[in-house]
Symmetry: C2
């Protein structure tokens, strides 16, 4: 497993702006350490969000894309911040962002923010967003391809080691299962002939094992299982709990995922429903925060 | 060729809201006919924009996506409207839209539009957009998948027959070359095993022949050829000119496509450069408008 992962990283196209990513993660961690040193230890949630793409050509025209609006990760980030977590938001470029449009880079948004009337600010949750940014409690990192996603995850994962049980990895991103290894990929766009085309895809090495074993062995880890076939969903969720050493797996079915999820841990299966909440992510994040609290108490006991 | 196309349409999942699409195209055409009857014949540009997706599963999680920001089609639509064309804009859902954000459906945009100060409106080109909508000179139709795109194109194509040489098809969309036929597609998400995965893709039937032969034989047709390999680009552009009976093929190379294109017709090859223009689409649309004018004059001669 580790050999496959190493071979993935060795052959991947180098991450652009790698030094910037490392520096921003380190700055974020320095703030956590300083707070920790004076007894103000907050927890850190690493929220991944959106689908990864798998390039089919080196000079990328066609990709395989995993469908994901990124709305789960975006909403969850708001709730983690509200629960006093600092958040590293590792998200698909241009995917749905939390606090609706308040993140936009377009000039008009900046213009608009400056002229904001207060009731409008409150409705769009701009104020909590601005506060999180001002307090340096939010770090946004962007990916598009599977290669970018896993390389950034490795950087963040390894950096979380000193955070111990106070770190929660919340893997809401839809990561590709199969990919075309970079060194077997064609330089130019695949030429179409009259006949059919056959594509050979290799399985993506499982990185969760590396995270649990080497990067941040103490972190509380939550993965997601999305299936269209409800019959195999819970079985698969329980299986990934053991296989990758997750602390919780959130099982959701494609059609009902906005209203209902099942949180599967080694001890319990909790069915969460949206009910009167504005979205399913509110009870979900609350449930996981409580699970992590128990996990922290186990350490102290 | 026609059999393949027929088999594609027969096996495709039925277009949702088909009746709405047909009705809106017919309303658009009625306005053109009324103007035409009183001698105010304007031209109609059908601008396709953005990439199509090819679903890999029936309950769609994974897709093959053709990279395209949709910015070419969006900018060109603005210039066609400015050149007094009525425009049918067949675009990828959520792709870049013309007139920057003025099309947004979000509540804040509506709120914002109502409170607009005039210099801001002018800068964002909201006023020409609102005028085009008010004058019913702009019809927007949305697609995501290849199936949706080709079914809508068939409706629009057939409807353009009475417009004759006054119609221009401007195929800026990046349409998939290969697809998984709907009836050979798995119902559920493809299960991943430990081994590699092999995908069999069929070539997408070429619809341009149908357009030229049956749907709207007199329309002025412009297709685009995008390649990463500049050596084969012009050869391919010339070949599609003959193969599909296009009136012009716009050849562009992936890396330089924002600054330079070559318009290839049966008589000439015109190299267009951005120069002092705000974008390459301005000289491109102007060039094609002039080509269509000559095409109209040939008829009168």
């Amino acid at each position: 497993m580790e050999e496959e992962a190493q071979s993935f990283f060795d052959s991947a196209p180098p991450l652009r702006c790698r030094d910037d990513v490392v520096a921003s993660v380190n700055r974020f961690l320095d703030i956590w350490k300083a707070a920790s040193a004076i007894g103000q230890t907050t927890r850190i949630a690493i929220v991944t969000s959106g689908g990864t793409t798998v390039p089919l050509e080196r000079r990328c025209v066609r990709v395989i894309d995993n469908f994901s609006s990124g709305s789960r990760g975006a909403a969850s980030t708001e709730y983690f911040l509200a629960s006093d977590y600092a958040v590293i938001f590792l998200h698909r470029r241009q995917a749905a962002l939390f606090f609706s449009f308040a993140n936009g880079d377009a000039t008009f948004v900046k213009y608009f923010l400056e002229d904001l009337c207060s009731h409008f600010a409150a409705r769009c949750r701009i104020i909590p967003y601005k506060n999180a940014v001002l307090q340096k409690k939010l770090l946004k990192l962007e990916f598009t391809t599977l290669f970018e996603y896993l390389q950034i995850l490795e950087i963040v994962g390894a950096a979380m080691k000193p955070v111990g049980r106070h770190a929660m990895f919340y893997f809401a991103a839809a990561v590709s299962d199969f990919y075309v290894p970079w060194n077997s990929m064609m330089e130019h766009k695949i030429q179409s002939d009259d006949g059919s085309m056959t594509m050979q895809l290799a399985p993506v090495p499982k990185m969760l094992g590396l995270l649990r074993k080497h990067w941040a062995p103490e972190a509380f880890c939550v993965s997601f299982k999305l299936e269209t076939d409800v019959d195999i969903l819970l079985k698969k969720a329980r299986s990934s709990l053991c296989k990758y050493g997750m602390h919780a797996v959130v099982a959701n079915e494609l059609e009902t995922r906005k209203n209902k999820v099942v949180v599967v841990t080694r001890k319990v299966e909790m069915v969460l429903e949206k009910g009167d909440c504005s979205d399913i992510e509110l009870p979900l994040v609350n449930c996981l925060v409580a699970q992590q609290t128990m996990y922290l108490q186990q350490q102290q006991a």
